[in-house]
Assembly symmetry: C2
Homo-oligomer: 397 residues x 2
């Protein structure tokens, strides 16, 4: 499954070259909207080895722009960037593949191989496009449970997710309380604020206003709403970054043009150039309908809604332990939103560790190498690993 590539430095802590795997789930998936997916394709990667009693599996739930490729490389091209959470997943890393079997699927509705709007709808033999069913987080969780069944994993040692990945992890703890031992919720919230929803709506407007969106049927029409998707990503991206980070990284530096008087050439600021670049890059690889599906899922997600809007009541169904992390300058999912989770868990008599990480990295801090954060994660997962060993030990005696 993994292979060390000698060209790269630091590979002693890399999972090396990995190959995505996939499964065709043939059991029907009954979606929250009432529609049924009669089978679907799920792409995922795994790192590390599943132990004999299948107790050391960790599920990684990716965020909006993430996918199954969380760690390692797909080729020996030295220019290739590693998976999106490579800094945390690998041998000896906080999510230690010497001890854990790490699974990261691309979610349904996604656009990286798993069944989603880009896929062919078997009923019409055309891409689903805008007719892909609206999803809820529970649908993701249900499909991940089907993947766990496929892999022979009865219970996850841990489910870990940042941002909307944290929402999946929390939903898991309520829907399948017996199948989660530890739930790690990073830079997340129990629902979106109206400001969050507003940003999502603007992103959607950017996409649907693009002349090449074609009411969502752009694939069939041989088009792609690249500009709209790039703008949607910019609108999202700026909310992942803190003011201080933007100040330090870009300030008011110009990329081109000049402030001189007597000059009517347009200026471009570094921050504009950066966001445009990030937007364009994203639009190349992402699918606009997936962006619409996921942002709407985010808006509608509300952990406690079906528990009389009482988070304490909601969490009283959970049986696992929790780790919650927030980032001081995160204004997308501010530390207060994490504290709401922690407060509800405490009130529900659950075992919870909480860390608020001082950083200027904003929401994107959850992907960053911040020692207090990564070591906090490592420390918590050390405890999880120690419990596994002692369980194994007790089996032997």
């Amino acid at each position: 499954m993994s292979d060390q590539s000698p060209q790269r430095t630091g590979l002693d802590q890399s999972v090396g070259i990995v190959k995505p795997q996939s499964v065709d789930i043939t059991d029907p998936l009954r979606l929250a909207c009432g529609q049924v997916l009669n089978g679907y394709h799920l792409v995922y990667e795994t790192y590390g080895e599943l132990n004999e009693d299948r107790s050391n599996a960790i599920l990684i739930c990716h965020a909006l722009s993430g996918y199954h490729h969380a760690a390692g490389y797909h080729s020996d091209d030295p220019a290739e960037k590693p998976g999106w959470w490579d800094n945390c997943i690998g041998p000896g890393k906080p999510i230690d593949t010497n001890r854990f079997f790490v699974v990261c699927p691309n979610n349904i509705g996604g656009c990286h191989g798993t069944t989603g709007p880009k896929s062919i709808n078997p009923d019409t033999e055309k891409p689903w496009g805008p007719d892909f069913p609206p999803l809820r987080f529970r649908d993701w969780v249900d499909s991940q449970a089907q993947l766990a069944d496929h892999l022979g994993i009865q219970a996850w040692a841990a489910i870990i997710g940042g941002s909307l990945g944290g929402m999946q992890a929390m939903r898991w703890s309520l829907e399948y309380p017996d199948r989660v031992k530890n739930c790690l919720v990073i830079a997340s919230a129990m629902n979106l604020t109206p400001q969050n929803i507003a940003f999502n709506e603007m992103a959607r407007q950017a996409i649907t206003s693009d002349a090449d969106f074609c009411d969502g049927h752009y694939i069939e029409q041989g088009k792609k709403p690249t500009k709209g998707l790039a703008l949607a990503r910019m609108i999202g991206h700026v909310t992942y970054l803190s003011q201080g980070q933007l100040e330090e990284r870009f300030g008011r530096d110009l990329r081109q043009g000049s402030f001189e008087r007597g000059n009517d050439n347009p200026v471009q600021f570094e921050v504009e150039s950066y966001l445009n670049y990030k937007g364009d890059q994203f639009a190349e690889t992402f699918d606009a309908n997936t962006y619409l599906v996921i942002t709407r899922m985010l808006d509608v997600f509300d952990l406690a809604r079906e528990y009389d809007n009482d988070p304490v009541k909601a969490f009283s169904n959970a049986k696992c332990r929790f780790f919650v992390a927030s980032f001081s300058t995160d204004w997308r999912f501010a530390p207060d939103r994490s504290r709401e989770i922690v407060d509800a868990l405490i009130a529900a008599n659950k075992d919870v560790s909480y860390i608020n990480v001082e950083t200027d990295r904003g929401h994107d801090g959850f992907l960053a190498d911040i020692p207090r954060y990564t070591e906090g994660l490592r420390s918590y997962l050390n405890g999880v690993a120690a419990e596994l060993s002692s369980a194994e030990g007790s089996d032997e005696t």
Copy 2:
């Protein structure tokens, strides 16, 4: 000039029905970019009466979406909304038209009658459109000085502006130090942060990506980039509001649809509906090229740039007194940005009053009826009026 309309309530404090005025300035206006406007049309409104020694004039500098109609009404239609700052301008109001002669012009580059991108370029006999010269704040200030000449006003008793209006007021204090007695800078900053610039850039992208933008030549082509302009406004608007305000006003309430499972009808949240409405409303009356011109002016504005980037050095040129106000939940122009102004003024030995207003109204607080703010404004302007009276008195003795 003003006429009381009996149909309306509270008209004892209204300037009543007002009529916009205009002037064709025939003196050439040499712009910062090097181009010259050989004359231009300026639309403005005035409230109150200019006193004999022409010393009681107040200049109101409007913000991005504002224009010359700051107070009163244009008709006796009881459904008509008053001017954008009617709560502050009128007889007995903080900007008291019983004592002051209040002037509010629509800025050049605007789209409410003053020469701007919608106007006909005399050289081509077509609308200026995207070829309207790029402007700087000093160009606005210079044109306002020409208006002051036209009105026979040598010095303004006060120049007042909120948001980018505050930038104009500050620029006035440096460019024409002998023509400003008091400078009132509300919810403003000496330059934009990279985050501010990012939001402006996203708004511009929304406009220029609209298929009906036609590279800015939409008027000639009989089109209007309404969707793009509406989205641009939404992107701006959400940054004018605080989180708390959105929470209180909209929360997670639905406008339509339902959270029920087994339902695949799309939901719409109240906050989305509101922002869409605001965006559409704005797009009906505003010009996209004006939005581009002004946001670029904002990005480039930097009060101290030509003073070795030293705000203290910049303000040492000012001769007026200053009033600075900020709003606690304003994250567009945060209180810290106002404090930078105040600190520089103090270091430059200028006379400055500062008020930070506790409110949940965010940046839009500057247009709101918040007693501590409006009374602070009233109190400061009482002092300005008292000085006028004592100056008149001393002339008589």
